[in-house]
Symmetry: C2
Subunit: 668 residues, 2 copies
């Protein structure tokens, strides 16, 4: 809070600010988000490091050729860069790290200064001079100042902190669950439909409700207040916020997706420090940002071939700058969807059969839930169970016919992937494999992602999203029971959090029969019951019965899931951020919802007419919902859980997990 004391200084410096025309404050587009000045340092100001964490340095000097910041267009090539520890002298970077000065790089990029400039196709050009120093590290805890001097007197200062690591390791294993896009409002809604309440008292609770520690984390990006899942995965795994689409690099201004300055992830650090096994489980395609973020380093999360490449190999032939003396070095368990990156074809690395690449590195490869149950626990295992994302819990368990006809077999045989595991199946098996592959005291690290909470919230498919959330909760419950059974519960830190939210909330109930019987949009909306009219959850009572307070019913999926999914009175929910769409508040039995169709002027709510129209709040080019700002909850149980209490930044999650595993090193 020291900066708060600087009020006097701040007011003083205000007097010397040169007001520029408003366009330079562009928010929608910016020259480079982390670099408001013309000299750029990466890692930028305010970055914290784990002691001994590897990172690259990138320096850039910008010379805009036109626009509001126009210069002569010649970037200063004689910039200098030094690093100062505490109150010491600033030592030239080459001497500080004992590295050689790299050759100068030069490039040009363009951007729009705002939406008016975009409409007028008025690009601003910027010439860049740059240097990069690869794979350096800081071991000594404390404060550092990294100073770039350029343009004969200008300077950009980055204040860095190396956090002091703990004296001892508290957790042997870490099981890290990510409910992608999950907010407390969604957990509340899932509780409403999956757990019975009598006169306001729940008769059972979510597993999340019962964890030892509760926290909240701030999800914003380094250069925008709404994040995507790549950027937020980066924060959770490395302790560094970055830009939208970036995985474990700071976004520089060059076009190359692989030359951006990298930093080491929790999985890489765990591997490098302990040699222990790593597990990666997701209901998404496995190259997606949240699973991919454990091992990959790229400016673009869409570089799927590179992402799967980095699961398997510690260094990469993709780009010389990826030559990186750390890495996942073949994660021991990889379970998810996304067969497109493995079946030989346009999506796989160099078009090769990438299943074979894993087999040649000693992996057993499996394709369905039947194989999952019987596979050898002692071997590295790749399980790819469909193309694209895995089937949703609701379709697997309530509407299994929706799994047919999709031609999404992971083997590429054009069959249907009807024998898919759920998050619980994958996670429990992964625990067994990691446990079998752990050598004494190494422990293991696993990330398990309920990916389609997010994917179904994007599609405004609330039922499926909540089904995924209930499956996550069920998986956490089953994992605790399983760890207890195998004697590892007291050794395992379990953390459950999200990477960002969606502005979803339930605001009442909807009488779907009444809604269907009305003929105008405004009359249909009269079916929504608010306040006392919201009534009680019909999802926990049997269809057609009177509510019997004292009877707890279980549906076909057992306790902790709805007894029925299509009651007459459904919950009514919505988002502030929506495309044009049509609403009936009825779950989509026929498969995941497609909220919009493309028209001449962007996306519109599709027919049928038995839904009422909701005008969107998002640009017409947006086909689905988007992420929101709100802090997301953190739940933890096990050794080190207490440190997850309270309100903190997303990046702190990395430090808390790394500290529980004692991955920091104050000496080489």
């Amino acid at each position: 809070m020291a900066l708060l004391q600087g009020g006097k200084l701040a007011l003083a410096s205000l007097l010397f600010l040169t007001p520029l025309i408003d366009i330079a404050m562009g928010q929608t587009f910016r020259r480079l988000g982390t670099c408001p000045t013309l000299g750029c340092v990466f890692p930028p100001d305010q970055i914290d490091f784990l002691a001994g964490q590897l990172f690259d340095i990138r320096l850039e000097v910008h010379a805009p050729t036109n626009g509001t910041e126009a210069t002569n267009g010649v970037p200063d090539e004689n910039f200098t860069f030094c690093i100062q520890k505490g109150n010491g002298v600033c030592v030239d970077v080459t001497r500080f790290f004992g590295v050689r000065d790299p050759s100068l790089e030069k490039w040009t990029f363009t951007y729009y200064e705002d939406l008016f400039a975009r409409d007028a196709e008025q690009l601003t050009g910027v010439n860049v001079a740059s240097k990069a120093y690869r794979a350096v590290t800081l071991h000594e805890p404390g404060s550092y100042r990294a100073i770039l001097k350029y343009n004969g007197g200008a300077q950009t200062v980055a204040n860095w902190v190396v956090r002091r690591p703990p004296a001892r390791r508290t957790a042997k294993n870490v099981l890290f669950f990510i409910g992608d896009g999950m907010t407390q409002a969604m957990i509340t809604a899932a509780r409403l439909i999956g757990h019975k309440s009598i006169n306001g008292k729940y008769q059972s609770l979510m597993q999340l409700d019962q964890m030892d520690a509760l926290g909240l984390q701030m999800t914003h990006s380094i250069d925008s207040f709404i994040t995507d899942s790549a950027n937020s995965a980066t924060a959770l795994y490395t302790g560094k916020k970055s830009s939208v689409d970036a995985l474990n690099v700071f976004a520089d201004s060059s076009e190359d997706h692989f030359d951006d300055p990298k930093f080491e992830t929790i999985a890489e650090l765990f591997r490098r420090r302990t040699g222990g096994p790593i597990g990666i489980v997701s209901t998404a395609y496995i190259a997606d940002a949240t699973p991919g973020g454990l091992c990959a380093h790229t400016r673009s999360r869409d570089e799927y071939e590179a992402v799967v490449h980095e699961f398997l190999y510690n260094t990469s032939a993709i780009s010389p700058t990826l030559d990186w003396p750390t890495g996942c070095r073949g994660a021991d368990v990889i379970f998810g969807g996304g067969a497109e990156q493995f079946i030989p074809g346009s999506g796989s690395p160099n078009g090769t059969d990438f299943y074979k690449a894993f087999e040649s590195e000693g992996y057993q490869v499996i394709y369905n839930n039947t194989q999952l149950k019987t596979v050898d626990n002692n071997k590295k295992t790749l399980g790819i169970f469909s193309t694209s994302n895995l089937a949703k819990w609701l379709d697997r368990n309530v509407y299994p016919d929706n799994l047919k006809g999709l031609k999404n077999s992971p083997t590429g045989d054009q069959g249907d992937a009807v024998d898919q595991p759920g998050l619980k199946d994958m996670t429990l098996k992964a625990i067994d494999i990691l446990q079998a592959r752990t050598r004494r005291d190494q422990g293991w690290f696993m990330m398990s992602e309920a990916a389609s909470i997010d994917k179904m919230m994007h599609a405004l498919d609330y039922d499926r999203a909540l089904g995924e959330l209930l499956e996550l909760d069920d998986t956490v419950r089953a994992s605790i029971a399983h760890l207890k059974k195998i004697g590892e519960l007291e050794n395992t830190l379990i953390v459950v959090t999200a990477d960002h939210g969606h502005g979803f909330d339930v605001f009442g109930s909807a009488d779907t029969q009444y809604l269907a019987a009305q003929t105008t949009d405004r009359r249909k909306r009269d079916a929504v019951g608010i306040y006392e009219g919201s009534g009680l959850s019909e999802y926990t009572v049997s269809p057609g019965s009177t509510p019997d307070n004292h009877t707890i019913l279980f549906g076909a999926q057992g306790p902790h899931f709805p007894v029925q999914w299509t009651p007459r009175y459904t919950f009514a929910a919505g988002f502030g951020a929506v495309p044009d769409h049509r609403e009936s508040y009825i779950g989509n039995a026929g498969g995941p919802r497609n909220p919009t169709t493309r028209g001449e002027d962007g996306y519109f709510g599709p027919r049928p007419e038995d839904r009422f129209e909701i005008h969107g709040t998002l640009p017409g080019s947006t086909s689905q919902g988007v992420h929101s700002l709100q802090d997301v909850p953190v739940y933890a149980t096990g050794p080190g859980a207490a440190s997850f209490r309270g309100v903190y930044n997303s990046v702190d999650i990395f430090f808390k997990i790394a500290d529980a595993l004692a991955l920091g090193r104050t000496k080489d």
Copy 2:
């Protein structure tokens, strides 16, 4: 969790359920929410009591005359009622409590079974036989079964629990803040506009972010999943959830608003057990549900005259059934708006000058902020600072001209209430008065409400709502500092929570210049920047400047508030639950927002046309936003704070506070 073990029993009882036609499951309207059977017990099943807490019992037997539950229309008058402690015998209520049997009451009520019945004006009638037992209590901790037998064999069982009180008191004083309608999404948004972030790291934090303990509470009603503020105040103050509109009573089916079964509040208990002073502070009209709920008992929160009556007198002439051997007995500090209940006229008790009633009970009465600062700390004080709700922080501090011309003077002189205190002024002064009026070891209890977070979120006026939230945070911060200064911080439990949420969230930024320049609704929406296009908060930098990362600016309102409120790039936010309205994402400088105007077919978004239209999701009869389901955060600091960690029910807040003050008594 014992009920979870009852899976076998539950499935067995399912077989004996008689399926009724669907209408009986009505959610939008119900015969009586807490009574799915024809015999009703209040307090109903699943209610917990503080040991020694006073409550009424109400029994009802229903005989519907038509509709899906039609009987012969004659309610059983010979019902019996007994209470069983633990595994003991069930003792008739008169013997159990040593009270006389009251005379039988009879009445009739009607309701609609669903929306179709409402449209057809098809009422269902119900004849009722009833008895009420007033002001009983249970001292012995443990489980009780209260059994109503009726209709020759039918029975309704209510399971009650008296919680075991702690051995000793941990907190001398309790300062209980309620941010009405406040969610974590709103706190996140307030942090964004009030606190500067550099490369993703906040340079200062909300006071709430820094409290010792973080929890989450479930806000649902006893008989609906969306609550109002009366019902939720009841839960927080008494440990009993109730129905929408009810203050500290369970809703019975009779028309009388004052004969419903009451239960004792935290303020009444504090007064009865310690004799210490009570403070009630709100930015709402003081008869509003959240302040009123500390002392009042009525089925209808709209009984404003009764509410202010109950602040002052311990028993009431309003109704014999209000004769109640407990009460606030003249709360020591009452600060808020709502002069309508004091100025002689249609809103004041019996049309009298109710300021005089307070003066005759020894109160000093004040009307503005100037008086507030100089008033005697040793006297009971009533401060009413305007008619209706108090002015909003944004209008008082940024747009003071909006305070003019409102003719809202609290004295009734038709002047303008331009010298109004804010929440901080009122709360700090209330601390001083309570402190001066405390006799050694009594301690004090205060509730301080930031009411207009809710009121402005209802109006979709995000800026004003967040201004109120920042003021609350500033008040908590100032209260901690003030308590420290007077040596009471370590004696004071400070709890901050909400009573329910609204489904508000920020999903991006809006380029308001671009929005204004577009001519169609769909093009205007293109001004919204999502993900990387959301950029950084412009509220924390000075207008027209380039973002200088290292400069922390303070606006005229000091740190922890925005530097500017009308930047070019605003935050873009919204709700899932909205009336038809029009949006520009520009704050309403001219005063609180009025989101709709009344048209022939309900409420519509008003002109002007420089906003784009958003179709509502709520019934056309709804003029503003509504409450939502999501769990709301709880923050606590001071003695007893640790018990507020984790996830729990709203009613638990009452027990946690009562336990910190040791208000339970296991013997009379």
